[in-house]
C-alpha cells in the first residue's frame, strides 16, 4: 500500500504504521522515553484503543491473551529501563508458546546509549534470548520498515514475539512517511511448501498402522487447521489426543477426542502412547511435560511429525517421517492420500481406560462425597453454566490442570493459558486481552490464590475498562501444585507454600468489582448463576479443599506408562 509520502514525526509514524497493520488495541504503560509516542497517540484515540494496565507485565500478558483469541499480533508499549524489563516475563511466555506479539519500547536518545543514562537498560540484549527478532531504531526513517518487518516476522511461520526499541531522538525526528507491508525477507522463510513425497510416505505408514494415535498441539490452532484435523481423523478413524495448548482445537465431545496428554493428562492417551504402533504428531513439540521419560516414550511406535518449524523435527523425538510445512496444508494433503479406515477396537481401549480413570479419579473430582469442595466440581459447574461456549483463561498450577481436564469446549481458540513457561500471574491480565479480543463472548478466568496475588493490580484495569471478566478464584490457601509435589516427593515438608491470604472480596470491592465467596457445596450453583447473570466483572471466590491433589500424574522423570491414578 503505497501512499503519497507526508512529513510526520517518528512518533506519529509509529502510530500510522500500527494503523496500517490493522492494530486496534495497544496495551501499555507510558514513561519518559516513550512519551513522544504517547503524545502522538493522543490524536488517534478514535482509531486505536489504548489500555493502560497497572504494570507492564500485565500489558504483555494482556497482549498475549488478545493474540491467542484473534490470531493477530498483540501490541504493547512500554518505556525504557524498568518499563521494558517488566515486559520480559510476558515476552518469554509468548516466545515459548509461539504467540505473535509486537512490543515497542522507548529508549534513551541515541547519543546517550551506553552511558548509563537515566532509565537506560540494554533492552535489545536483555530481550534477545526471548524474542523471535528484535531491532533498535535510532533514526526516524527506519520506523515504517522496521514495524512492517516486525509484524511480518511475529505473525508468520511459527509465530513469536518481536521487540522494537526506539530511541527518543528517533521519536522526535521527522521523516517522509509512506508504508509498505513486508511480505518477504531474504534470510527468513517462514513456511516451506509441503513435500508430496513426505506426505505419501506418511500416508503409507498411516494406512498400515494397526494402533495409530494422533497428538495435536497449538500448531493446529495457529494454522487454523481445525476442520482439516477433523476431516483427517474422521476419514482415518484415528483417536486424537491433545497437548495443553492444543486444547479446544477439537470439540471435547468429538467421539475421536480421547483427551489430554502428559503429566496431568488423561490415563488413556498416556498409557496408549506406549502401545501405539504409530504416532502422528501435528503442530506439537514433544514437551517434557508431554513425553515424561523420553527414552521410554512411544517405544513401539513409528513417528510421523508435522510441523512448520524445522528445528522441532528430531529435537526430542526422532521422526520416521517429517512433514514440514503449514498444518492446514499438510493435513489436507495427508487426508487426500490416506485410505478411509476405522479402528474401533483400538478406540474402545481408550474408552475402557477412560472408565478406569472415571472410577478412580473423575467421579471423585466431579461428584465428591467429602465435605470440602473440589476444584473439579467448581470448574465443571462453571463450564456447564456457560454452555461450554466460554473462553477459558487460567493461571498456572493445580487449578490450571483441573480446568484443562474438566472445562469443556465447543469452539476453537477458546483457551488462554501459559503452557511452556508456566507463568504464575498470567491469568488475570491475559483475561483482559481475551475479553477485549472477543467482547461478545463470556470470558472465565480461573485463578489460584497464589497467582491471583502476583498480578492482582490488574483488577484496576478491569474496573477502569469495565471488562466483564468472570474471575473464579479457587482458594486453597496454598501454592497448591508445589504443595502437592512436596507431599508426594519431599516427605510433606511444606516449605513456604502456605499462604495467609487477604480478604479477596474486600480487595475486589475496593476496585469496584462485585463478588461473593462460597465455602460450601450447597451455595455453589446459585453463586455460579449469579456470577454468570452479573453484568460486568465479577469475582467468585471458592474455598476449596486445602490439600487436594491433581491426578492422574506422571511423576517427573517417569515413563508415561507409569501414570499414577492415585498417590
Amino acid at each position: 500500500m503505497n501512499k503519497e509520502p507526508m512529513k510526520v514525526t517518528g512518533s506519529e509514524a509509529v502510530i500510522l504504521s500500527l494503523l496500517e497493520e490493522g492494530v486496534e488495541i495497544i496495551f501499555g504503560y507510558p514513561g519518559g522515553a516513550i512519551m513522544p509516542i504517547y503524545d502522538a497517540l493522543y490524536d488517534y484515540d478514535k482509531k486505536i484503543t489504548h489500555i493502560l494496565t497497572r504494570h507492564e507485565q500485565g500489558a504483555a500478558h494482556a497482549a498475549e491473551g488478545y493474540a491467542k483469541i484473534t490470531g493477530k499480533a498483540g501490541v504493547c508499549f512500554a518505556t525504557s529501563g524498568p518499563g521494558a524489563t517488566n515486559l520480559i516475563t510476558g515476552i518469554a511466555d509468548a516466545m515459548i508458546d509461539s504467540i505473535p506479539m509486537v512490543c515497542i519500547t522507548g529508549q534513551v536518545a541515541s547519543p546517550l546509549l551506553g552511558t548509563d543514562a537515566f532509565q537506560e537498560s540494554d533492552v535489545l540484549g536483555i530481550s534477545m534470548p526471548v524474542t523471535k527478532w528484535n531491532y533498535q531504531i535510532t533514526t526516524p526513517e527506519e520506523i515504517p520498515d522496521a514495524i512492517a518487518q516486525a509484524f511480518f516476522i511475529a505473525q508468520s511461520g511459527r509465530p513469536g514475539p518481536v521487540l522494537l526499541d526506539i530511541t527518543k531522538d528517533a521519536q522526535f525526528g521527522e521523516l517522509e512517511f509512506s508504508y509498505k507491508k513486508c511480505k518477504k525477507i531474504r534470510s527468513y522463510v517462514p513456511e516451506t511448501p509441503v513435500d508430496p513425497f513426505k506426505v505419501k510416505a506418511a500416508a503409507e505408514l498411516i494406512d498400515n498402522a494397526k494402533k495409530p494415535m494422533l497428538l495435536f498441539g497449538q500448531g493446529v490452532i495457529i494454522s487454523k487447521a481445525e476442520e482439516e484435523l477433523k476431516a483427517f481423523i474422521e476419514k482415518t478413524g484415528i483417536p486424537a489426543a491433545w497437548t495443553l495448548l492444543g486444547l479446544s482445537a477439537l470439540p471435547t465431545e468429538h467421539p475421536l477426542n480421547v483427551g489430554m496428554l502428559g503429566m496431568h493428562g488423561n490415563y488413556g492417551p498416556n498409557v496408549k502412547t506406549n502401545e501405539a504402533d504409530l504416532i502422528i504428531a501435528v503442530g506439537m513439540r514433544f514437551d517434557d511435560r508431554v513425553t515424561g521419560k523420553v527414552s521410554a516414550y512411544a517405544r513401539d511406535a513409528k513417528i510421523v511429525h508435522l510441523d512448520i518449524d524445522h528445528a522441532e523435527i528430531n529435537k526430542i523425538i526422532k521422526a520416521d517421517v517429517a512433514v514440514l510445512g503449514d498444518a492446514k496444508k499438510s493435513l489436507k494433503m495427508l487426508t487426500d492420500n490416506c485410505k478411509k479406515n476405522e479402528h474401533k477396537k483400538w478406540l474402545s481401549e481408550f474408552n475402557k481406560a477412560y472408565d478406569t480413570e472415571f472410577e478412580k479419579v473423575i467421579d471423585k473430582d466431579l461428584h465428591p462425597t467429602k465435605e470440602g469442595l473440589t476444584m473439579g466440581e467448581v470448574i465443571s459447574k462453571v463450564s456447564e453454566a456457560t454452555n461450554h461456549e466460554a473462553i477459558l483463561v487460567t493461571d498456572v498450577g493445580q487449578h490450571q490442570m483441573v480446568a484443562a481436564r474438566y472445562f469443556k469446549f465447543k469452539h476453537s481458540r477458546s483457551l488462554v493459558t501459559s503452557g511452556g513457561l508456566g507463568t504464575m500471574g498470567y491469568g488475570l491480565p491475559a483475561s483482559m486481552g481475551a475479553q477485549l479480543a472477543a467482547p461478545d463472548r463470556t470470558v472465565v478466568a480461573v485463578i489460584g490464590d497464589g497467582g491471583f496475588q502476583m498480578t492482582i493490580q490488574e483488577l484496576g484495569t478491569i474496573a477502569q475498562n469495565k471488562l466483564p471478566v468472570k474471575i473464579v478464584l479457587l482458594n486453597n490457601n496454598f501454592l497448591g501444585m508445589v504443595r502437592q509435589w512436596q507431599q508426594l516427593f519431599f516427605e510433606k515438608r511444606y516449605s513456604f507454600t502456605e499462604l495467609i491470604n487477604p480478604d479477596f472480596l474486600m480487595i475486589t470491592k475496593g476496585f469496584g468489582i462485585n463478588g461473593q465467596k462460597v465455602t460450601s457445596r450447597e451455595n455453589l450453583d446459585a453463586a455460579v448463576k449469579e456470577m454468570m447473570d452479573h453484568d460486568g466483572p465479577y469475582l467468585l471466590e471458592v474455598v476449596v479443599e486445602k490439600e487436594d491433589n491433581v491426578f492422574p500424574m506422571v511423576p517427573s522423570g517417569a515413563s508415561v506408562s507409569h501414570i499414577l491414578l492415585e498417590p
Binding site: M128, R186, Y188, A311
Partner: protein, 180 residues
C-alpha cells in the same frame, strides 16, 4: 562421542546477530573453541566459522536453532576431515636470540613459518597451520622466551568445488520470487 565440529553460518550483516548466535551455545552450555567472522565472497553476506566440541546429535540441533534465527541465511556443520582449514599464529621473540645462534632461523625454515618484522628489540614470526602445528612452533620458540603470542580463529573451506551458499542464494531468490 564428542569431537570437533565446524559450524559455518552465512548471515545478513545486522547488529546484534553475533550475540543472537552465541546465545544458542550459551544456553546449552557449549563452549566456543574458536570464532571467525568476516564478509564472504558475496557482498553483504557475512560468514561465521565457529568451532565447538560436542556430539553430532547436539551439533545438528544447534545448527537447526541457528538457522532459525531470522537474519541467518544458512548454517552448515562439518567435521575437520571434511574441511580445509587454517589458523594463523604470530610469535614475538627477542631479536637477541636470533643473533646468538642460528637455531631460530632453522626452526622458522623447518616449520614453514616466516619472519614478518625485525626490530632492534623483537622479531615477529608468522605461521599458518592447524592448532597442533602452531602450538608445536610455540613450544619450540618458547625456549627463547616468546614475548607475545596470538592465534586466530579458524578459517575453513569445504571440499566442494563451489561455495554452497551461492547455489543456496539462487534457490532462495527463485523461491522468494515465486511468492510474488
Amino acid at each position: 562421542m564428542k569431537q570437533e565440529f565446524n559450524i559455518t553460518v552465512f548471515s545478513e550483516n545486522h547488529i546484534g546477530l553475533l550475540a543472537r548466535i552465541t546465545i544458542v551455545f550459551t544456553r546449552r552450555k557449549i563452549n566456543i573453541e574458536s570464532l571467525t567472522v568476516s564478509e564472504s565472497a558475496i557482498s553483504g553476506v557475512y560468514k561465521f566459522t565457529i568451532v565447538i566440541k560436542t556430539t553430532e546429535d547436539q551439533v545438528k540441533k544447534v545448527v537447526s536453532q541457528i538457522e532459525k534465527i531470522v537474519d541467518v541465511l544458512k548454517a552448515f556443520y562439518h567435521t575437520n576431515q571434511e574441511l580445509i582449514y587454517q589458523e594463523i599464529a604470530l610469535y614475538k621473540v627477542p631479536t637477541d636470540a636470533l643473533y646468538d645462534s642460528d637455531q631460530i632461523e632453522n626452526i622458522v625454515r623447518n616449520s614453514g613459518a616466516r619472519i614478518l618484522e625485525i626490530t632492534r628489540e623483537f622479531t615477529v614470526i608468522e605461521k599458518t597451520g592447524h592448532k597442533e602445528e602452531t602450538q608445536a612452533l610455540f613450544e619450540q620458540l618458547n625456549q627463547f622466551k616468546v614475548m607475545q603470542f596470538i592465534r586466530s580463529g579458524r578459517v575453513a573451506l569445504t571440499r566442494d568445488p563451489i561455495e554452497r551458499l551461492s547455489e543456496f542464494l539462487k534457490e532462495r531468490d527463485a523461491f522468494l520470487n515465486s511468492m510474488d
